[in-house]
């Protein structure tokens, strides 16, 4: 059941593209050679909203549901982002209880009734910091210093450009952008986790506007032979978020205190 981090990672892979929809962005010609990865990513930013929209977003609150249909598990999820570098996520699954994770003051953590509290370190922490950056695609050149085109591939019947992005710290992530619309349709990556490196695949669908944002409302994840679906009900930008939402849980504070002793 310990997939909250993966779910976070993949949700952000789609949601962080939020921007103001600008329909005038030119499309690539269908029979043109594969464009440079930079052009594919910049186009993605533009079709989902554009740089200006990214720049004015300072907070974000996301509400949604999560369902593991094959095993009959359902729950709710909520995420809070605040620039710079604050993040909190809680997922509440029936029969499992609350699973939380967050980033505050450079401390990346997770906590649950099931497994208690822990601090993330190394590659996993770098991944958490990357995910907590709600506007990471607006400055993707910093987040992913290396971007390579890997040809084209059909995803759910739609021809897509395949781009491999390598973060400053972490493993390469492969993203698929629809040739026709420029929207991201799929992400494939190997997530660093306490359970080990785990291959995960994410399909983004049902893009719709959330205020000034064009983002997928349905994300289907495949992780370690299991599949689950995240449905985004609401996504609000620039709401004032109470400071206590980002406060470290007592269990995490206790771990930090032990580290100092």
């Amino acid at each position: 059941m310990n997939r909250e981090r993966l779910e976070r990672r993949l949700v952000l892979g789609a949601l962080a593209v939020a921007a103001i929809f600008l329909p005038a962005v030119p499309a690539f010609s269908a029979d043109a050679p594969t464009p440079a990865p930079e052009a594919i990513l910049d186009r993605f930013v533009e079709v989902t909203g554009g740089q200006a929209a990214y720049q004015k977003r300072k907070t974000e609150v996301v509400h949604g549901t999560i369902e593991f249909a094959a095993v009959g598990l359902k729950g709710t999820m909520v995420e809070y982002f605040e620039e710079p570098g604050k993040f909190y996520m809680a997922m509440d699954l029936a029969g499992v209880g609350k699973i939380e994770s967050g980033l505050t003051g450079g401390v990346a953590w997770e906590n649950s009734v099931l497994q208690g509290a822990r601090l993330k370190t190394g590659e996993e922490k770098a991944q958490a910091i990357r995910e907590a950056d709600m506007n990471n695609f607006s400055h993707w050149r910093e987040v992913y210093p290396k971007a390579e085109s890997a040809g084209e591939e059909v995803v759910d019947g739609e021809p897509c450009y395949k781009v491999v992005l390598t973060p400053a710290e972490g493993k390469p992530e492969t993203m698929y952008f629809e040739k026709k619309s420029g929207l991201m349709r799929k992400t494939a990556l190997v997530a660093a986790s306490q359970l080990g490196d785990i291959a995960a695949e994410s399909i983004s669908a049902e893009y719709r506007r959330f205020e000034d944002i064009l983002a997928p409302a349905k994300i289907t994840e495949k992780v370690a032979g299991q599949e689950f679906t995240i449905t985004i009900d609401s996504m609000q930008a620039n709401q004032e978020i109470p400071a206590e939402k980002f406060a470290l849980p007592e269990e995490v504070k206790a771990l930090l205190a032990r580290q100092k002793n």
Partner: protein, 432 residues
């Protein structure tokens, strides 16, 4: 008695064309399942297609279901991975169920039993249960249940080494279960060997009904208390925890954490996993965290076809650093084995009782077209010390078997051994 005769019977008739087809279908189901669901793409390092080519003609030539069963067992034995098995259809007939050993109803007399020296012996009577109210005592042997000779059935099941004790115990328990509201007539043999007849009501099972996803609602109970020579509630006592499933996650995890917190001054703790068939695997990691104060440790690794998962443990506070005893028996399976085996390998717990079920994974038991049962595992779990639990189980550090004589005397020899170790020899770290 007729069911026992069925159990021991040798087919005397030739198979019909229909039987032959059912046996071939059964072969294909077994072979295909291993091909598609085994955790290794080349199961057991074998050329699985070549195995098909070798065995299919033999199954086609087989004269009866016994020969087919023998061939399927031989094919599975090539994997050299136990926990793959074929059970005769008569195992199912023995419990009178259509196929699912658990599908006989939730009603319970409150009796738990095990096969001890070839007898079905009451090992525990739930407090407040119909059995307790009727005066049934641990140590009594079950002779007849609704007219079926369980004494003979227990002896026959125990004598068949191909049937895991977990399966045979479930089959026997099914005989004294049924729908809530029903009744079961049981003839016991008491401590003096005299017959004691009881009509026991089948009541709602002990515990709170708990659901988890698509799993059927399951009654889950959790108990914790202080025991030991120092006396309940006093410093120096031993904390004792027992629960019947790793389910009802939130309540059981919170109760477990509460029991550890309440036991900070205890001389030791006993986690009794006897009869616990497992549940949510991750709960083993969560519980182990209360006994380990170093980050970065893990109980073991699960290998599946699509992933490899470390069963990592987060230290949880307040933790318990004193001597820890874990009790196991042949009905301790899955998550119970993962928790016990991992803490044993990390030299954090000393294991008492008998070897566990060797069913560390949620293996699947399906009926084959010819009526036999087919058990297979979908992954491999290797405990931190490098032992594959699947098929091996957890071997206790101190092997102690329950005896009827001790049960009749009101003693639990396994708990007694753990208490003795904690109170006399416990050092806070389990000895190798």
């Amino acid at each position: 008695m007729y069911r026992l005769l069925v159990l021991l019977a040798v087919p005397l008739w030739a198979q019909t064309p229909q039987d032959r087809q059912l046996n071939l279908d059964s072969f294909e189901k077994v072979w295909t399942t291993i091909r598609d669901k085994h955790w290794e793409k080349n199961p057991g390092g074998l050329d699985w297609q070549a195995i098909h080519a070798e065995f299919r003609p033999k199954v086609e030539q087989a004269k009866n279901i016994d020969e087919v069963r023998g061939l399927l067992k031989e094919m599975l034995s090539r994997l050299h991975q136990t926990h793959f098995g074929i059970f005769p259809a008569t195992v199912y007939e023995e419990v009178g169920a259509a196929g699912d050993l658990d599908a006989v109803g939730d009603g319970s007399t409150g009796i738990d039993l095990r096969v001890l020296d070839g007898q079905a012996v009451v090992t525990r009577v739930d407090p407040g249960s119909p059995a307790e109210r009727a005066g049934v005592k641990p140590g009594w042997a079950v002779k007849l249940a609704n007219g079926v000779n369980l004494q003979a059935a227990a002896s026959a099941l125990a004598a068949d080494a191909s049937i895991p004790e977990l399966i045979s115990t479930r089959a026997l328990l099914a005989r004294i279960g049924g729908p809530v509201g029903g009744k079961v007539q049981i003839t016991f043999l008491d401590g003096a060997g005299a017959e004691a007849k009881r009509e026991l009501a089948l009541a709602a099972p002990r515990g709170q009904m708990s659901s988890f996803g698509n799993l059927p609602e399951t009654p889950v109970w959790f108990e914790s208390k202080l025991i030991g020579a120092a006396g309940a509630g006093r410093i120096g006592s031993v904390g004792y925890v027992r629960f019947n499933y790793f389910l009802d996650l939130q309540r059981v995890m919170e109760s477990f954490g509460g029991a550890v917190k309440a036991c900070q001054d205890c001389a030791g703790m006993i986690v009794d996993l006897r009869g616990n068939p497992g549940g949510i695997g991750a709960m083993a990691m969560g519980m182990a965290g209360y006994f380990l104060d170093m980050p970065g440790l893990r109980l073991g690794t699960m290998y599946m076809r699509d992933a490899q998962l470390n069963f990592a443990v987060n230290p949880r506070f307040p933790s318990f650093a004193g001597p820890l005893a874990i009790l196991l028996d042949a009905c301790s399976a899955s998550t119970s084995e993962i928790l016990a085996g991992g803490l044993q390998d990390l030299h954090r717990a000393r294991i008492f009782g008998t070897r566990s079920a060797a069913a560390a994974l949620p293996s699947v038991i399906e009926r084959l077209p010819n009526g036999d049962g087919f058990q297979y595992a979908v992954g491999n779990y290797v405990s931190e010390g490098g032992k594959p639990l699947e098929g091996e189980g957890v071997k206790p550090d101190v092997e102690i078997k329950l005896t009827r004589a001790a049960l009749l005397a009101g003693r639990d020899a396994v708990v007694d051994a753990a208490l003795s170790w904690i109170e006399k020899d416990g050092t806070g770290k389990a000895a190798k």
